[in-house]
């Protein structure tokens, strides 16, 4: 969870947010206790009495008291004269907004006038006490998340008044993560305080060590107004934070690149096999991916309708089914069409394009032209962080999945009889035939395998994008380029091609924008093909020149 708070909103509000995180979990009994204490505000006529109630609120240790304390500090906490109900009242005259002091729910304010209410008295010395109570409620909350959130908001707002509370909290804090957060928050607060140079130097060092964007924000906020003796420290610290930020930004780009690369790899790897073995560009390859994605959709619909408790496993069911659906369509295509066109690669290209149009329109007729929503199972949604890298689970699983598919395929090609025959046919079709390999059978199996792989790629891709009849079209040109760039007849070529295109793409984007970056990549590939017409990892030998 990322908190982007404007530092100016102040520590009180910030602490309150930390407290609010508790609301859902707090027991109803606590709320009742809170309400009974709050009700005492109605009878508290003197500052002393108000202070006593505030203290009582602090003793509850209930972070829900944040809202009412903040309202009190702002002078918005009022009691109704006729029944003594304590409410948060904002606005003037007869234009009032009423809110519950615990939950913040709005009340019907019709007919209410400011004259109906009596303000709970508050003064500056009391406000400081309220602030202390508030921070102890959050900084000493018994929930780690609340304490962390409180530390984070102090960090971002650099509130010097929080130093004492932090020091106090640090003494009793036992959780290491929270302790580190407190120390950083304190460093941020120290910069805003009027403490000595030594304290501030140490604080700057702590912030530099943290090294993220918020630390940079805090540092640059105080760098301008820093005394001369601290200026060089600030400059050093800012430079070091910027360095570490640049490294993380590159790491993030590389991750995005790998993630895009594995999508490309999934889409292209089946194509690489069919193209490598048969020299056939299958223009309907993208539609095999689309069929896989629609299989996922159908499986999920079926599960939703009949056994919703199995939804988390929907992808597991979809994988083999998608392989079968796309694989058998591929097999039918090969037996019914492509085998009549061997030796005429350009015609094969056209015929498969025709098949792709038919498949698209079929899916459009059956499922409709609109995008279909394919759900993410729980284990694929959300994100986690490594350092300053934010990684979404679905991307993470897809990278793993792509690599797994690659490994399995690699094993099939290098360790099985079918793989051996495929390699033989790739290298020299006629010689392989002469050695007794049924080349037409190998062709059929290869095509089915390549299409099936495209199908399971569709299952993965359905998790990160829209599922529509045009799904395949959006991947097909990129997949061709990966295959052509990587070279034919070598899976490593496809892997390296996909990853380098993915990473290159993501590094171009910040400079050139997404579209122009893509255009530049296309131009680069076109130029690259001129230089190495057979791709990065070209097969060598005479057999290639057929």
């Amino acid at each position: 969870m990322i908190w982007r708070m404007n530092g100016l909103t102040g520590v009180l509000f910030a602490l309150l947010i930390g407290g609010l995180m508790l609301v859902a979990q707090t027991a109803r009994a606590d709320e009742a206790q809170l309400r009974s204490i709050i009700a005492e505000f109605a009878t508290a006529k003197k500052f002393k009495q108000v202070e006593a109630v505030v203290k009582k609120l602090g003793e509850t240790g209930n972070a829900d008291a944040g809202r009412v304390l903040r309202a009190l500090s702002d002078g918005n906490l009022k009691s109704r004269k006729d029944d003594g109900t304590v409410l948060i009242v904002t606005g003037k005259g007869s234009n009032l907004a009423l809110a519950d002091p615990v939950t913040g729910d709005a009340f019907d304010a019709a007919g209410a006038k400011s004259g109906d209410f009596r303000k709970v008295k508050v003064k500056n010395s009391l406000r400081r006490k309220i602030a202390a109570v508030l921070s102890s409620l959050t900084l000493k909350s018994n929930r780690v998340e609340t304490r962390l959130a409180a530390a984070r908001t102090i960090f971002e707002s650099s509130d010097a008044s929080a130093i004492e509370a932090l020091d106090d909290a640090l003494k009793t804090e036992s959780d290491e993560t929270v302790k580190a957060a407190f120390i950083e928050a304190r460093a941020s607060a120290v910069l805003a305080s009027d403490l000595g140079v030594d304290e501030k130097t140490a604080a700057i060092a702590q912030l530099a060590e943290r090294g993220d964007r918020t630390a940079l924000g805090v540092l640059s906020k105080f760098a301008a107004s820093a005394p001369d003796e601290l200026k060089p420290r600030f400059d050093e610290a800012i430079a070091s934070v910027e360095d570490s930020l640049a490294i993380w930004a590159n790491a993030q780009n590389i991750w995005y690149g790998i993630s895009l690369g594995s999508v490309l790899l999934l889409a292209a790897i089946g194509l690489a096999i069919t193209f490598g073995v048969m020299g056939v560009i299958n223009m309907a390859h993208g539609e095999m991916v689309m069929l896989g994605a629609y299989t996922t959709f159908a499986v999920q619909e079926l599960i939703r309708a009949s056994a919703p408790e199995l939804f988390a496993y929907s992808l597991v069911f979809a994988l083999p089914l998608a392989f079968l659906v796309s694989g058998s369509v591929g097999l039918i295509m090969e037996r019914g069409l492509i085998r009549f066109l061997y030796g005429r690669p350009l015609e094969t290209l056209l015929a498969t394009w025709g098949v792709s149009l038919i498949l698209q329109q079929t899916v459009r007729t059956i499922f409709g032209p609109t995008n279909k929503e394919v759900g993410n199972p729980d284990w694929m949604s959300g994100a986690f962080e490594i350092g300053q890298l934010s990684i979404t689970w679905n991307r993470f699983w897809i990278v793993l999945f792509a690599l797994a598919v690659f490994a399995v395929l690699y094993a099939v090609i290098n360790r099985t009889a079918l793989g051996l025959e495929m390699r033989a046919v790739t290298q020299n079709r006629r010689m392989a035939g002469a050695m007794g390999i049924r080349t037409s059978w190998v062709d059929a199996m290869t095509f089915a395998l390549g299409s099936g792989i495209a199908g399971i790629a569709g299952v993965a891709l359905s998790q990160i994008g829209n599922v529509s009849p045009n799904l395949g079209q959006s991947y097909i040109i990129d997949s061709f380029l990966v295959v052509v760039f990587g070279g034919v007849g070598n899976l490593w070529g496809t892997l390296v091609g996909a990853m380098s295109l993915g990473i290159l793409n993501k590094f171009m984007e910040p400079y050139a924008g997404a579209v122009l970056g893509k255009v530049i990549i296309l131009v680069l590939i076109i130029l690259f093909i001129q230089k190495r017409p057979r791709g990065l990892f070209a097969l060598k030998g005479r057999a290639v020149e057929t």
Binding site: G279, I281, L337, F340, L341, R344, P345, L346, E347, T348, L349, L350, A351, W353, G354, V355, S356, L357, I358, Q360, Q361, T362, R364, T365, Q473, I477, F480, L481, V484, G513, V515, L516, K518, V519, L522, V523, I525, I526, L527, I529, Q530, K531, P533
Partner: protein, 390 residues
């Protein structure tokens, strides 16, 4: 491959251009249509059965432009074996050059009434005309650009591609990547070509209102005229000595090279010429449909051109024209009746043509005709396309 001279069977003009009787008759008919259709539209009264309504003239004019595009593709694919999946790019570039001229002709009549800047630039808050728009207020400059823009792109592209011997499916894929890259580029507003919406709202061409029936009829006549010219050029090239070289390059590039020729130069020449033809087709297309947008760069469009050529018969002079008109006519008719099913039909066309009609309608008809006459097929009219596409 031996060449069987068949001159004694053709008339004189046909001999000069190496045309069979059928092709010659077709071209004469087309030339006649260039005159008759506009006359039937403008002069013949509406009540007459010979009257051709305006919308039909517009539709036919559009098809003729498509036919020109198919003829240009046929020159490289049918005769030289280069399957371009990006010919739409040259078509669109020619169209954009014409569109830029037409945009400049709008003058102050645009929605924003700016004297120099086209509407979309005013809308984007641009202050002055980008440098590449200079000169497009003159027709002669636009005319040069119509030829130069696609020609130059094709020359540079081909120079790199053919020199490094990129061929077969590899070449097809990178031509597709080329048009895809242009598609993405032209979608950007920053490019200065109207972005997503392209160029439209044209008013005048050479001082004539683009909406009037007379202008439209003239544009039709021009399209037909250019198409006839393209057909004659194709016939002339393919039956010349150079044409033999072209076919030799298509059927056995390696052997041609070993005989001492330079296939890459042969390819580069027809490739560039073909791109220029496609550009001119695009330029005539734009004023007739009244808009040019990046959609013309879509790879699917370029592949559709391939199927027009294939249906009509690649490697034949008139095949592409017949294919383009038939497929587009079928599309208009079919999308009117069952819009859902057109893609099925188009897909089936791709599959069935490659499987059962690899020589296309004209090629197959020629074969049948030759069989009837117990004669070997005439080489100038689409024989043996089937051998070695690579």
């Amino acid at each position: 491959m031996t060449v069987v001279p068949s001159y004694q069977n053709t008339n004189r003009l046909g001999h000069r251009f190496g045309l069979g009787k059928m092709s010659l008759a077709f071209i004469v008919l087309l030339a006649a249509a260039a005159v008759i259709v506009p006359l039937c539209n403008l002069v013949v009264p509406e009540t007459s059965p010979f009257y051709i309504p305006d919308h039909l003239v517009a539709l036919l004019g559009k098809w003729l432009c498509y036919a020109m595009l198919a003829v240009s593709l046929n020159l490289v694919w049918g005769y030289c074996g280069i399957l371009s999946l990006g010919h739409g790019a040259f078509f669109a570039l020619g169209g954009y050059a014409m569109g830029m001229y037409l945009m400049r002709q709008i003058g102050t009549r645009g929605v924003y009434g700016h004297p120099v800047l086209p509407d979309f630039m005013v809308f984007l808050n641009w202050k002055e005309l980008p440098w590449f728009w200079y000169g497009f207020d003159q027709f002669w400059f636009a005319a040069i650009m119509i030829v130069l823009a696609p020609g130059l792109l094709a020359f540079v592209f081909g120079w790199f591609a053919f020199r490094s011997r990129v061929s077969g499916v590899y070449l097809s894929i990178i031509t597709q990547a080329m048009t895809y890259a242009l598609l993405l580029a032209f979608f950007r507003n920053d490019m200065g070509f109207g972005g997503n919406n392209g160029l439209t709202d044209f008013k005048d061409i050479l001082g004539f209102n683009i909406q009037t029936r007379e202008t439209r009829a003239t544009l039709f006549a021009l399209s037909a005229g250019f198409l006839v010219a393209f057909l004659l050029v194709t016939a002339f090239i393919t039956t010349s000595r150079f044409g033999k070289l072209l076919v030799a390059t298509r059927d056995a590039e390696g052997r041609t090279r070993f005989l001492g020729y330079r296939p890459e130069n042969v390819k580069l020449f027809v490739w560039t010429l073909s791109a220029v033809m496609a550009g001119i087709a695009g330029a005539l297309f734009v004023p007739q449909v009244g808009i040019i947008n990046p959609g013309e760069f879509a790879p699917a469009n370029s592949i559709e051109v391939v199927i027009w050529t294939a249906v009509g018969g690649r490697g034949t002079i008139i095949g592409p024209v017949i294919g383009a008109v038939l497929v587009n006519g079928g599309k208009s008719w079919f999308t009117g009746l069952f819009p859902e099913f057109w893609l099925f039909v188009l897909g089936a066309l791709f599959v069935l043509t490659t499987l059962f009609l690899p020589k296309g309608i004209v090629g197959t008809a020629n074969d049948l005709w030759s069989k009837v006459r117990r004669k070997k097929p005439d080489n100038t009219e689409g024989s043996a396309v089937l051998q070695a596409a690579e």
